[in-house]
Symmetry: C2
Subunit: 110 residues, 2 copies
DNA sequence: ATATCACTTAACTAATCACTTAAGTATGGT
DNA sequence: ACCATACTTAAGTGATTAGTTAAGTGATAT
């Protein structure tokens, strides 16, 4: 059984970890190798590889190995989808508040 | 040691679960009791309570008990913060692409 | 040829997660 | 007073997570 929103599970899960957000933060500035991503991260290289695997599984990051170095970059589509999910809910919530305010205005002089 | 982004860990973590997103989805339409949130969720009530606790810990939802019913509603601030985090990164990434395109345009006629 | 560099795989561990069932606490209705 | 309702708490379980160390693999530099 496949759920349409399963990719959002992976995207939000990927963004829930500060090390992975730091990697995304680095990658929005441009592509980087695994070692470059690892450098600021008080963690072993295999640890970083596992975070990278989570980011790739979510579709937030893609990578390509050339020679002995793997270069990673952002894939913005999933980032946009996650942003849209939130934006839509916030819009719904605000629309409801507007209707509520309008209703209160219309009924206040009884 | 406190991290400024720790609340984003909790927010994205909370949004990473489909049951919790379903609860948020319900709550953007307006407040609901715990039982109302539980109804569509193929899960025991204590299970729902635990999801609710995660949503409250993240600040996405607040609740208040009146009599024997607890009423839950969305607190949009954290939703907005999560949306902003993504939007900023996407903006950075797009800005970099623009600079790259500009650079390529400026140097293409050598 | 050999040593180094940049990952990669495997295996293990402690902690957290997403549930469950069973039992308990107020509150509201008759 | 009694009973149902609406949570609430506690305790347990199996799966996943976030890290580790140790031992590879293959590419580049000397």
């Amino acid at each position: 059984m496949f759920r349409a929103e399963a990719h959002l599970d992976l995207a939000f899960q990927a963004l829930a970890d500060p090390s992975r957000r730091a990697m995304v933060d680095r990658l929005v500035q441009g592509p980087a190798t695994v070692s470059e991503l690892a450098k600021p991260l008080a963690m072993s290289l295999p640890g970083v590889m596992q975070h990278l695997a989570v980011l790739e599984a979510s579709g937030l990051v893609v990578s390509e190995k050339i020679g002995r170095t793997r270069t990673c970059r952002i894939e913005p589509k999933v980032l946009t989808q996650a942003e849209h999910w939130i934006a839509e809910r916030r819009a719904l919530w605000e629309r409801r508040l507007d209707r509520l305010g309008q209703f209160l205005d219309e009924t206040k002089d009884d």
